[in-house]
Amino acid sequence: MDAREEVLARIRAALGPRRERVEVPRDYHRQPPEGTDVVALFAERVADYRADVRRVTAACGVADEVGRVVRELGIRSLVVPVGFPDAYLSGVDGDGAGGRDHVELRRDDPPLSTAQLDDSDAVITECAAAVAETGTLVLGRDQGRRALTLVPDRHICVVRAERVVGTVPQLPAVPPPATWVSGPSATSDIELHRVEGVHGPRTLVVLVVGC
């Protein structure tokens, strides 16, 4: 008998012929408490993880805010995944003539090498969905390859308010590969205190657009 057959045979022997049917009770909460402002809650919960959260009420304000973040953080090279809206980048001096504030936009097309990512100051993406209750961003395939949001040290994420749901059970299906991000990279390994910044981006800036 090969290993597969043997493990399966052991399982069948262990369970016996009459199997108990187990129903999963799903009476846990699917909705957030009544009257919850999910967008405000999301902003508060992400900030709890010491992410830098900024609210932008109108879509037209996004580009200005992105430009401001890029300047404030002193970003010189910004990774941009395929499909990221160009309109959000108009406040970044990306196509200028290489002056003092020049920011190099590094589009992942053709795919950037890992060394290029390592040498980039930041990445900017959207998210597929977000969860208010846990302050979680869900990144899917539309947000680009997983390495893009992992290797650069800063991640700027633009979150459209309509993509924010209240609870984990309300999340829409996001086909894998997917990454749930709740705050910047952190560790609790030293005396169980949360310390931001180990291997993933040490700075997470979340721009919440709309209300």
Binding site: I11, A13, V22, R146, H199
Partner: protein, 465 residues
């Protein structure tokens, strides 16, 4: 990392651990911190009990039809471009992994912390085959640099404080700043710099998985630091060694388990990073994915109608953090990769009879705190009592069981008495081998004082040991 072989049985190991006051101070501080954090985030969820009940049922549903779900998982992983291997035991799993690393032509692998690979002592097997395993989890790195053993499921270096970690980094980490301070932020940065080159150049990664979804073939790794994402994303070949009990039937099951796990584990609403992947994805991540499904004693546990509850465990370590015995002895005393209350019921079942494993079901006062904390409602006291009847045959052990029941007097006496009575335990007051356990503490339990009272007194402001 040294192996667990040749570890003394629990009472002797516990006595050594208790003599180490630094260890106990580190543990007390750390477990107190985590208990408070967990309590706060659990209290936030009005539906916590419903979530626990759903979590219990999800895992039971998976286990009651384990063969069906594993076959489905296998089919989906293969359909998504992965390869599935089956391993009856540790040696077989290690052989498979070594073969895959050899085939990739690599002599070094990066690893993301995984209980399953610790259980099978994969690092030692790789070393014997000339392959270096680089642990990338901060705590595992601390353990590896210190030539030490992990002492906690989730925070393997919980027994080390920041000053000890600083000293270790200065001494053992190539290129570490000799001026490195004990500020956790600086220590984390040092680890980041140390491992970055490894991540960017590694060709093979080895991981475990927290969950594997039968319906879709998705694997899930829950982590904090981003080292998991590095391992799962950057290398060309990914090998995941996963216990067969990690399978869950449906994607919807994750909405429960991913709420239960982080709150129970690190006391966070959500952990920083959760990765979900399915086979391989062209242009994103490894081009080869291997899933190694590991039995290694799990089917033996499955055959035991009470013992099988231990297979529901999602390795959150909440039971360790609330356990008065664990808090005093630390994880090493359990002589197993699975310490604390869950280790006391899992190790004897996975490993079979040996002096360490046989002593573990006695490493408890049956106070029941672990059961209350467990997000998948494993009745650890019930399993402990049951396993005592399986591992022990002498009159002494039976007496020990009685004493354990006696120490339980107090607020829980009634409930526990009923529970014990229901399974036919005779109450007795004779110490037997239990004496070893009381000796292993720095003060004996005065007669007439319950464990709970004794415990409360030990924690009093003037009574801190």
């Amino acid at each position: 990392m040294s192996t667990w072989l040749g570890m003394p049985p629990f009472p002797e190991a516990a006595r050594e651990a208790l003599a180490d006051t630094q260890l106990r101070a580190n543990l007390r501080a750390a477990t107190a911190t985590i208990r408070a954090k967990r309590a706060a985030v659990v209290a936030e969820r009005a539906d916590w009990e419903q979530l626990r009940e759903a979590g219990r049922a999800i895992k039971d549903r998976a286990l009651r039809d384990l063969d069906t779900h594993l076959l489905r998982l296998e089919e989906r992983v293969i359909a998504a471009g992965g390869t599935v291997h089956w391993a009856r035991d540790a040696a077989e799993a290690n052989r498979i992994v070594i073969g895959l690393v050899d085939a990739a032509g690599a002599d070094e692998v990066v690893k993301v912390k995984s209980m399953a690979t610790q259980e099978i002592e994969l690092n030692e097997a790789l070393a014997a085959a000339g392959i270096t395993a680089v642990e990338t989890d901060l705590a595992e790195l601390i353990v590896q640099l210190g030539h030490d053993r992990p002492s906690h499921i989730l925070v393997p270096a919980i027994h080390r404080n920041r000053a000890q970690i600083r000293d270790l980094f200065r001494r053992e980490m190539p290129g570490a700043d000799p001026e490195l301070t004990d500020d956790p932020v600086e220590l984390a940065s040092a680890a980041r710099a140390h491992l970055r080159r490894k991540f960017l150049t590694a060709r093979v990664a080895v991981s475990g998985a927290n969950f594997a979804v039968a319906e879709t073939g998705s694997l899930v790794v829950v982590e904090s630091e981003g080292n998991g994402r590095m391992c799962l994303t950057l290398p060309e070949v990914l090998i995941s060694v996963v216990g067969i009990e990690k399978v869950v039937p449906t994607e919807a099951d994750l909405e429960v388990l991913l709420q239960l796990l982080p709150r129970s584990a690190t006391g966070e609403r959500m952990n920083p990073y959760t990765s979900l992947w399915r086979g391989t994805t062209p242009g994103d991540g490894p081009r080869e994915f291997h899933l190694v499904l590991l039995d290694n004693g799990r089917t033996t546990a499955l055959a035991d109608e009470i013992g099988r509850d231990a297979l529901r465990c999602i390795r959150c370590s909440a039971c360790l953090n609330v356990c008065p015995v664990y808090e005093r002895t630390g994880g090493h005393a359990y002589g197993s990769v699975y310490p604390g209350p869950i280790g006391a019921i899992l190790t004897p079942q996975l490993r079979g009879p040996d002096p360490v494993a046989d002593s573990l079901p006695y490493a408890s006062t049956l106070c029941g705190a672990c059961f209350d904390a467990c997000p998948v409602k494993i009745d650890i006291p019930r399993a402990l009592v049951h396993l005592r009847t399986k591992v022990a045959h002498g009159a002494g052990e039976r007496a020990a069981m009685g004493v354990a029941a006696w120490t339980m007097a107090g607020p829980r006496r009634f409930a526990l008495g009923r529970r014990l009575a229901a399974i036919g335990v005779r109450l007795a007051r004779l110490p037997g081998p239990w004496r070893k356990w009381t000796e292993a503490r720095d003060l004996p339990v005065p007669s007439g004082e319950t464990f709970r009272e004794w415990w409360a007194n030990r924690e009093g402001p003037s009574g801190r040991p």
